[in-house]
Symmetry: C2
Subunit: 220 residues, 2 copies
């Protein structure tokens, strides 16, 4: 059945080395800025072999990006599948999103490049993950938990979609803007655990105080 094949990815060992190399180069330079020659060099092989494995730059880019985003978002979503408790959901969301971003800062960079060029690959991958899969799609579950909490009077009524955007925005912003922020505000360092823990607390407090129902009834 042919030579040694790694079942994991569907590519042989060399194919994987190429994907790794391509990841590094695309990450650093983006699709337009990357050079096939550079990728081959990074993988320690020559152009001929590179094209023996991947027809074109386009192909390679799509594979790299799809793999990267799929792994990240699938993992993320699995770690925050809502249990029904809104407070735990918010806390887990913030916790997991920030932890995973800090452990995979490349993902943000890939997303940045992608969005720059219209994001066709990311749209596909993320759309599939957020709405598809087995069981209750993740967004549906999130939305239900928020709705239930509002109906039961634990939180005030909020639009779940906007709450989601707010959570994501607050978590991802510091990573996205890191190259700029770290130059403008010394002390901002997205690889510093202390900073990130503080960021988590600040986000959670803002959101939780921001949505929970007030204890003593409401006044004007």
């Amino acid at each position: 059945m042919g030579p040694v094949i790694e079942k994991e990815t569907g590519h042989g060992a060399t194919g994987d080395r190429i994907l790794d190399a391509a990841r590094v180069v695309f990450l650093e330079k983006g699709k337009a800025g990357a050079r096939m020659h550079g990728i081959a060099a990074q993988a320690g092989i020559n152009k001929a072999l590179l094209h023996y494995y991947f027809r074109s730059k386009e192909d390679l880019y799509r594979e790299v990006l799809t793999k990267e985003l799929t792994v990240f978002f699938r993992g993320l979503i699995e770690s925050i599948r809502p249990s029904g408790d809104i407070e735990a959901l918010v806390r887990d969301f913030i916790d997991n999103y920030i932890d995973r971003l800090s452990r995979n800062p490349q993902v943000v960079r890939f997303l940045t490049w992608e969005v720059g060029s219209g994001g066709p690959v990311a749209r596909n991958v993320i759309g599939g993950i957020v709405h598809g899969g087995e069981g209750v799609p993740i967004y549906r579950a999130f939305s239900n938990t928020v709705g239930d909490a509002a109906r039961s009077g634990r939180i005030r009524p909020v639009d779940p979609q906007h709450l989601l955007f707010s959570l994501i925005g607050m978590c991802i912003y510091v990573f996205l803007a890191a190259p700029i922020l770290s130059g403008v505000f010394p002390g901002v360092d997205t690889s510093d655990k202390t900073f990130l823990e503080k960021r988590k607390r600040e986000i959670f407090d803002l959101v939780w105080y921001g949505i929970r129902a007030e204890k003593g009834g409401n006044d004007g």
Copy 2:
């Protein structure tokens, strides 16, 4: 003193046409993806004249980006200079940030490209604007207003830097991720006034309920 010169930008009429053209092309393709030939064509001139005005692609890119970011952020910051009232500050910030982003969506795209390549230009421009200028630098003013509000008991104590990041993140996220979000959540349209007004309300409510001091003392 030479031919007709537009004093506004320091470039002649042709120079401005080139800058406009370059803006369009860099916006669409990023620095690496842009072609000098394409920029010349967009400006309706030939390559020779293009290089007669701008030595290199690098030069042109720096000028375009600096101009774009300077105009946007200077305008933004002037429109939200804090008056001392924290509630008004939060409301104005959200209002102006979202309005200006929706009127200048290119800026987000430029920032995206910039951040992708490490953001050296943006870091300079934004750093200068946020901390420099006449009078009290804007971040200082923001931070003071938040601090005063906390000391006077109007809001609970919050870290002004993190509050700022949260505000920016919530406002900018939908614009940044628009190409992806619009594919994943039909109905998300950052050029739709209704959507943006709702977004503003949701952000303001979350933040304001999230930071204001509770009326009836606190409980466990």
